[in-house]
């Protein structure tokens, strides 16, 4: 492998990490409150608003069922509006964030719903307000599940980020398509796949370890 190739791979890895990190961060910022709201706004729940809950649910499902590659193309005008351009890593962050937000919201909703209803009842019984229940009971108790969900989301984002390469988004996917496929350099394709595998493994094991550390439900020896 030539030094030139190694430089290309290193650059692309940097771009991928940048896209994934920024979009995961922004998507969590939006997805966390959305997920908490989805989990607590059903009928008879803390922030009961069944209609809003249903409408948000439909929007979330619609976004999630749109194939990512179509989403990327469909929102190009919006991407231009936000990023000023529709090509490059910064532009790629827009569709990545939009795809990841509902995904993260659903994962967080699931983690919050796992929290024992008895804890909400206990918190209400000692005079906690709904917001206090979210902050002091639901999120801390769901944290191991939330961390595992975010890990899954980051892994998915790594996959999505490779897809934005197809529309000039930069990163490892872009490298793989341009060099590995269009210039037919199988060693470049292989290198890209190996780097992605290593990244996914690293993210997953960090996430697992963190979740295990946070989970006090299991007795630590």
């Amino acid at each position: 492998m030539s030094p030139e190739m190694i430089r290309l791979i290193a650059n692309s890895t940097g771009e991928t990490l940048y896209m994934v990190a920024v979009s995961a961060l922004i998507a969590t910022l939006f997805g966390l409150p959305l997920g908490v709201f989805l989990a607590t706004s059903g009928k008879g729940e803390l922030f009961a608003a069944p209609w809003v809950n249903r409408v948000l649910g439909v929007i979330v499902n619609a976004t999630r069922s749109t194939p990512f590659i179509i989403l990327v193309v469909a929102i190009i005008p919006f991407t231009r509006l936000i990023a000023g351009t529709s090509i490059g890593t910064n532009a790629a962050i827009v569709p990545l964030t939009i795809a990841a937000t509902p995904f993260i919201a659903r994962l967080i909703e699931g983690a919050i719903r796992e929290v024992d209803q008895g804890l909400i009842e206990a918190a209400r019984a000692f005079g906690a307000s709904p917001l206090q229940i979210v902050r002091k009971v639901l999120i801390p108790e769901a944290l191991p599940g939330i961390v595992l969900g975010l890990t899954l989301a980051v892994v998915s984002l790594l996959g999505f980020s490779a897809m934005v390469g197809a529309v000039g988004g930069g990163g490892l996917g872009d490298l793989g398509i341009r060099y590995g496929y269009q210039r037919f350099m199988p060693e470049m394709m292989l290198a890209v796949v190996v780097v992605l595998i290593v990244l996914v493994q690293a993210v997953q094991s960090i996430g697992d370890r963190l979740a295990r550390h946070l989970n006090k439900r299991i007795r630590h020896a």
Binding site: L119, E121, A122, A125, F126, G127, A128, S129, E141, I218
Partner: protein, 364 residues
């Protein structure tokens, strides 16, 4: 556990405190919307008063409405009609913020403890204080006091997963007491615990009632809980209170079928199977009458059967029996077989001696 002031201390305190009960339910009914538009009535016209400083137990089978009843007291459920007065305030009429404030003076403990798994024992106890806006130093001191009160100072940094059931419930009790409530609600607090642990938790609750003068309202399906700790009892069935009063009175002279069935579960009250299977309603030639004799309080240890044999030459046949304690007072039950021809004389003799009798049937 057995503080010298103990039981008498509680009694004196009760007499000194004015008559206004701390919790009062007035004609409370609760209906839930059910399936197929068939509303389910959980409670019907409940009247209940919990005097300050007392321990009142509500006993009922599952589905009798007792969970709904206790949840009305801290506003986790709203009554469909009627009033729930706690410490002078109508809980059902309070706006949300005022209700949250009122809940700080109503502690609650649960069957499954409901502790946060992500917080240590000390942090769990601190939670209601954080919510109420106490400052850090105050929380620290108060949590230490509470840990000492429930005997868990050495477990302060343990997570619930590292504690036994009894220890978890102690944390639950400490958490419920954190904001210095006037009433403690206990929702089947010992139902998930073994008998020995149950005993120690009940002792702790009894001690808290004595030392802090805290009023306790508890619901349970276990006779043992009522017998060991309650001073007053209400028996609930089908959403109604069917019997209510002093524990000793109610359980030594049960009026309602449900109350009797709870007592039947107690050792010594049930007939031995060989008698039960042969029991008939009518006397037959050569049969014996089966009589249950209740010995209450001062008579519990009288040698009445010996006197019956000596004075009237009536020989009885002991089928089962026990001497027990209800609300700290001795209570004995004896089931005897009496020759049919001596039945009237025997009952007369026993009633004269101040004993309760009940003819259960006849065996050949």
């Amino acid at each position: 556990m057995n503080a010298p002031l103990g039981y008498l201390g509680g009694q004196t305190a009760q007499r000194l405190i004015p008559a206004e009960p701390i919790v009062r339910l007035e004609k409370v009914s609760k209906t839930f919307p059910g399936r197929d538009d068939q509303p389910v009535t959980a409670l019907r016209e409940i009247n209940l008063a919990v005097p300050q400083g007392s321990i009142l137990g509500v006993i009922g089978r599952s589905g009798a409405g007792k969970s709904t009843l206790i949840r009305l007291v801290n506003g986790l459920e709203k009554p469909s009609s009627g009033k729930v007065i706690v410490d002078g305030a109508d809980i059902a009429a309070l706006p949300e913020a005022a209700l949250r404030h009122a809940r700080r003076s109503i502690g609650m403990i649960f069957q499954h403890f409901n502790l946060l798994s992500s917080r240590t024992a000390a942090q769990n106890i601190a939670l209601p204080l954080e919510v109420a806006g106490y400052d850090k130093a105050e929380i620290g001191t108060r949590v230490e006091e509470l840990l000492a009160l429930v005997g868990l100072s050495d477990k302060r940094n343990r997570y619930p997963s590292e504690l036994s059931g009894g220890q978890k419930q102690r944390v639950g009790i400490a958490r419920a007491l954190a904001t210095k409530p006037k009433v403690l609600l206990s929702d089947e607090a010992t139902s998930a615990l073994d008998p020995e642990t149950t005993r120690s938790i009940l002792d702790l609750l009894g001690r808290i009632n004595d030392e802090l003068g805290l009023t306790i309202l508890l619901i349970t399906h276990e006779m043992a809980v009522i017998r060991n700790i309650a001073r007053e009892v209400a028996v609930i069935e089908g959403g109604r209170i069917v019997e209510q009063g002093d524990v000793f009175e109610v359980f030594t002279r049960p009026q309602h079928e449900v109350t009797r069935s709870f007592l039947a579960d107690e050792s010594g009250r049930a007939l031995p199977p060989y008698v039960q299977s042969r029991l008939t309603a009518e006397a037959a030639p050569g049969s014996q009458a089966v009589v249950r004799i209740g010995f209450r309080g001062p008579h519990a240890t009288d040698p009445v059967l010996a006197r019956l044999a000596r004075d009237l030459s009536i020989e009885t046949n002991i089928l089962s029996g026990s001497v027990d304690e209800i609300a700290g007072r001795p209570f004995g039950t004896l089931v005897v077989g009496v020759p049919e021809q001596s039945l009237a004389t025997t009952l007369d003799f026993l009633n004269k001696h101040g004993l309760d009798t009940e003819v259960l049937g006849h065996v050949a």
